[in-house]
Symmetry: C2
Subunit: 494 residues, 2 copies
Amino acid sequence: MAFTFLKRTRYFHTISPAGIALQSRIDKRSYAARSSVLERVVSAFRAVTGDDGVSLGATVREQHGKDESVHSCRPPDVVVWPQSVEEVSALAKICHHHRLPIIPFGTGTGLEGGVGAMKGGVCFSLRKMDHVLDLHQEDFDVTVEPGVTRKALNSYLRDTGLWFPVDPGADASLCGMAATSASGTNAVRYGTMRENVLNLEVVLADGTIFHTAGRGRRPRKTSAGYNLTNLFVGSEGTLGILTKATLRLYGIPEAVVSAVCSFPTIQAAVDSTVQILQAGIPIARIEFLDDVMIDACNRYNALSYPVAPTLFLEFHGSERSLEEQVTITEDITRENGGSDFSWARDVETRERLWKARHDAWYAALALRPGCKAYATDVCVPISRLPQILVETKEDLTKNCLTGPIAGHVGDGNFHCLMVLDPNDPHEEQRVHQFTDRLARRALALDGTCTGEHGVGLGKRLLLREEVGPLAMEVMQGLKATLDPKNLMNPGKVL
Amino acid sequence: MAFTFLKRTRYFHTISPAGIALQSRIDKRSYAARSSVLERVVSAFRAVTGDDGVSLGATVREQHGKDESVHSCRPPDVVVWPQSVEEVSALAKICHHHRLPIIPFGTGTGLEGGVGAMKGGVCFSLRKMDHVLDLHQEDFDVTVEPGVTRKALNSYLRDTGLWFPVDPGADASLCGMAATSASGTNAVRYGTMRENVLNLEVVLADGTIFHTAGRGRRPRKTSAGYNLTNLFVGSEGTLGILTKATLRLYGIPEAVVSAVCSFPTIQAAVDSTVQILQAGIPIARIEFLDDVMIDACNRYNALSYPVAPTLFLEFHGSERSLEEQVTITEDITRENGGSDFSWARDVETRERLWKARHDAWYAALALRPGCKAYATDVCVPISRLPQILVETKEDLTKNCLTGPIAGHVGDGNFHCLMVLDPNDPHEEQRVHQFTDRLARRALALDGTCTGEHGVGLGKRLLLREEVGPLAMEVMQGLKATLDPKNLMNPGKVL
């Protein structure tokens, strides 16, 4: 009894006032009645996960109410840590019965506010479900639980000769990456999560467990029924909780060569990119950094790259094929006025060479100590890149904003790493207006408001502009079908 | 007036008795009342498309009630030929108002009975919408109307240095290929329709027109909202009519080399395939033909390939990279007991070499003159291929069935080209039972009942076994949301 009392005490302490305040948005009953509901819910959660699997602590809730974006923290009322799909399903059923929002949580490395508990509710942290299951080396596939991160999988695969190449930078969970349709530097060669997820285990808001391509199925291709896998890839937790992902793997390339090359103009860098792709070079990475970004990287890492539009390139293949890839690429860049290649073969030199690109985020932050950073994310057809990059740089200058540019230029995808003073609401407002203008510029050039970060909280209006009201209605219809009570990550995407 | 009378006469003549019989399934009213409805509908159609755009002719209807499968002809009541998306929408609205089924029709080259008018209704032939629109060479994309076929697009692209590589064999319409999630020989390198459609214009059953990724959008990647594009790819006309597709294009490879190699066992051929993929060879095609298929090809084309499990290979790349690809591949096949390569560089020799593979269908048919053929279609993880191929060949022998095997072995996808006597119902029954056993064998090995032909009519029960009742419920929910009156190609997929 004493134990129960303690739990109750902790409970009332920790959910008040934030928890109760949030909860009140979905529950208009009296304080006592609401408290009683929450108490019953938490007891039910504990019966599923054990005491360790539930937390009402303010700090824990705060940690789970925010990702790496500038969106403010919206803590959930409760955080739960299920350890199996059956526990996820049982917890979802409790939420469903009480109409409590469910917010899936991977590593919190998202960039569009996808984990904020906009209507309170229950954060499902999937961190404890972290097993790599069913590796099939000969078939180049593996199944992972939702707590397995990209780096953890690649560590696991180290001695197999295989790897999973999708690399958004952060060490995100693979199911989280599926949820946001993540991609990153290697997408130009290996595709995004859309192309690399073969099957998903999903728990719907009502606790139903199903497999998008059927339990245990992992053919390389299929025409069997609607493509449910790719409906859930990119659904940002708004349709269901991803509890397993079956992924494509690739052979680790025999050799890797990296190169850096600077250009007189943005146009010359983009022209080179188009010509490299046209020549059929199976380039693994082709990253663009603008002059401001290179300057920041030079300062941060004490490097001395020319302060000019720059391409960072990486080639994967056999020793012999790399030689040819590099030669043709160098010819192309030289014809476009590019500098001689700085290039690197061994791991150490390659890492030094790419350090500028890898540290871009921190280099940007170091431009203005004490500031925070926010990465925009648009994607346009490659031919439109010079126009949008030039206009965007003019916009930044005109509005006195700090936003060095880095991009996965082979896909037409780029980011402005906005550095802003967290204590200056005017600057925040100007950044917000700038990012909206940037997104609309991308839309005007046949592009998208998000190439890889997702819609989350911040781009819901832009999504409507992008796809139009009728496609929005279709999306809303799908959402209503799969989550009629609007419990799955409410307030996101749509 | 005479003209109207003539039209009426033709109308009553041609829809009776088949048309009326079919129509009666969805309309229980009296003959006179039904005729009157049909008459009004046809007048409304003519007002949209002109007289040329509507046909009630028995022959025309029969031509549109059947694909290349063994499923019997189920002619629609009417065939319409819209010439623009606005006409498609206007015709759909009429159908919607009168609750008439809508069956989209491309080239009729499907293999699972997808175009049969199971409940009568209106066939939308999209043949007259055959323009290639908006080619963007620098961005490697193009938009096509639904009547544009694969070969027509590649002819159009001839002088651009670009091509569209997805090749299911038949000269299918590209939107039809999108509708069935088609793939074929090049998928191992270039992916299937799932990976190569960037955007679709869709008309829903109620006439709503929308674009799955937003009007005119064509970024290489996007995370903006639910992936509606890939919900419609593979939907087999059951969710909406595809009226435009934006497709990825690829640079035509500098050089192409083909090779043929025979093996002592199926296992040796499959092991070679796995090792070629593991070695990172970017093989463009890797096709398996079993001994029976090779024997048939030898007879049909007066060739003299060893009657043994055989791989047909194709390499795309630069001259120099091809040399390396071929050398490594030859090493791998030799280590697995493969014969020396027969290989070919110039177009003519290559075509001669591949003729055996290209004519496989006709070679199979020639095994039993006067018979018809039916291609099964399953896909399993590659490591499971030897087991399923051996078991399937034993099954064929035991049941005295003719079914030479050809497969896209790099994807784990293969077909038995069943040759059967159209006048022998017992044999037809045995073939049916065999194909069910084959599909269940694929399911037992983590595979799918269809790798590229789709579910259509024949595999609906198998789909349920493959994905399970809960995923089926999700699919049915999506269907009900987008097509609540069940007018879009009813009786297919679900």
